[in-house]
Amino acid sequence: MLVSLFPFYWLVVLASGTTQDIYRYPPKLLPGPHLLDNMGRVLDTVDFFGSLFNTVVVAVLGTVLVLFFDSLAAFAFAKYEFPAKKFLFGMLLVTYMIPAQLSLVPQFVTMAEFGWAGSLKALIIPSAANAFGIFWMRQYAQNSLPDELLDAGRIDGAGFFRLYWTVALPLFRPALAFLGIFTFIGLWNDYIWPLVVMIDPDEVTLQVALANLNVLYNTDYSLVMAGALMSVIPLILVFLIGARHFLRDLAAGAMKM
């Protein structure tokens, strides 16, 4: 547990000291007084709030879209019969097993053709339906959504979309919570895709901004560390809020595999 948390402590130590402190022997092991100072310098150097805003937009919109599309598709896969259902689900499983890096190049070319390269759309739209989420939600839908409820809804004259919205979605809530946190964290931390597709250096996400800061100011450790600390804090807060749900379902999910 100490090992697991130590790097965070060390990050705070580095971010609150001066760059000279970092090269001192023996090293300073306690936080110094320069934290706000260093954070101020980060704000002066890079457009922190701009990239924070981009990251928040991508993570929030992306998560909402994933929850919507994945649960809709999962609902259809779990409870409806339609042409080529088996084939489509097979395709889904195949793409689930293919590494994301395989589609890095074609995805980028597609985005460039659409004229989306460099815009936040390129970060949000392609991730809006993912195989893992559909697969996970479908498992959940099969177990937790009784057919009788749907039949009752049909007798009341509800169509596909109303059944989804009023009957299925409320029952999906625990699974949605897990998938939501999972997706949010993934989108927030994603590095390689924004690095590749955000071709305008002024419009980047937090991760790319931090990596750039690390390159441009690699001699100014305390500045880079303060930037790292600032980029990590928002996500840790989100995680701490949702942690209980997330950890329980994660373990349960692994058990089902």
């Binding site: 697991s4 293919i98 074609p106 339906a129 590095y191």
Partner: protein, 295 residues
């Protein structure tokens, strides 16, 4: 529909691209399988494959072992509150870029790792400049990131084993090692399989650690001194997006996929395909080893 456009289409398109020679601006030139041929003759590519395997091995094996021991210890403790769980899991959700920056300073020549070594009277190591230093630092980062995650997964598996089994083992006079090998591991097999498969898939796609760590050093190429930190995905990225050889990058993506597929199957067979002790497999080996210790 959306899924078809952004999920399935890139895969088909990727096959097409891998048969082309294209810099992203000019015309495509159909070259058939030549990209794959060039790839197989590319010594940097083979170096990146070797590096990836070495880092994967250095990180995954100790990590899964530590996670198992950790889970076993946690399981025998009655009190294991949510705070601990969060602490174990938090490395896994924190941004890799930020933590790589932190580890980069720890492993720097005048960084914390060498300061600790100096304090106990050992000479500093070129963590980020020597071949095995580079591989160890990247592996340590991966271990730190995943050990708690896998320990929690293993713990969930342990908790699903009925308590009667532990009691029966105790009544029979089994010590904790015997309990681990003969009661716990056989029942944990599906969970170990899950952990081994995910670790392999993740381990063969290492990118961020190497990319961020050596982005700033001035050795001319990505991947650090001697390109010892060059991984498959890092090389893919460099070729496709720094040198604009899209066809080459796409071809590399397929080779990566093939490697991952082969490894997944091997993992599967090792862990799941050992239902009896005659067929060799990790679980079978461990069980036999446990039996030998038991006598």
């Amino acid at each position: 529909m959306l899924f078809a456009v952004f999920g399935a289409f890139p895969i088909v398109f990727s096959v097409y691209l891998s048969f082309q020679d294209w810099d992203g601006i000019g015309d495509m030139r159909f070259v058939g399988f030549k990209q794959y041929g060039w790839l197989l003759q590319d010594s940097v590519f083979w170096h990146s494959v070797l590096n990836t395997f070495e880092i994967w091995f250095l990180s995954t094996v100790p990590m899964l072992f530590l996670a198992l021991v950790l889970a076993f210890l946690l399981h025998s403790q009655v009190r294991f509150t949510g705070v601990y769980r969060v602490a174990y899991f938090i490395p896994n959700v924190t941004s890799m870029v930020a933590m790589t920056v932190v580890f980069g300073s720890v492993f720097a020549q005048a960084g914390l790792a060498n300061a600790v070594l100096r304090a106990i009277g050992v000479d500093g190591i070129g963590w980020l400049s020597s071949e095995w230093g580079i591989k160890s630092s990247v592996s340590l980062m991966i271990i730190w990131r995943w050990v708690g995650y896998n320990a929690l997964i293993f713990l969930a598996g342990l908790q699903a084993i009925p308590t009667e089994h532990f009691e029966a083992a105790r009544v029979d006079g089994a010590n904790s090692r015997q309990t681990l090998f003969r009661v716990v591991l056989p029942q944990l097999r599906p969970v170990v399989l899950f952990a081994a498969v995910t670790s392999t898939i993740n381990g063969l796609q290492i990118f961020t650690e190497s990319q961020v760590l050596f982005q700033s050093t001035d050795v001319g190429t990505t991947g650090g001194p001697g390109q010892e930190g060059m991984t498959i995905v890092l090389y893919l990225w460099q070729k496709a997006f720094k040198e604009h050889q899209f066809g080459y990058g796409a071809a590399m993506g397929w080779v990566l996929f093939a490697i991952i597929a082969i490894f997944t199957v091997i993992n599967w067979r090792l862990v799941a395909g050992s239902d009896d002790d005659r067929r060799p497999g990790i679980a079978g080996l461990l069980r036999r080893k446990g039996a030998r210790h038991g006598r």
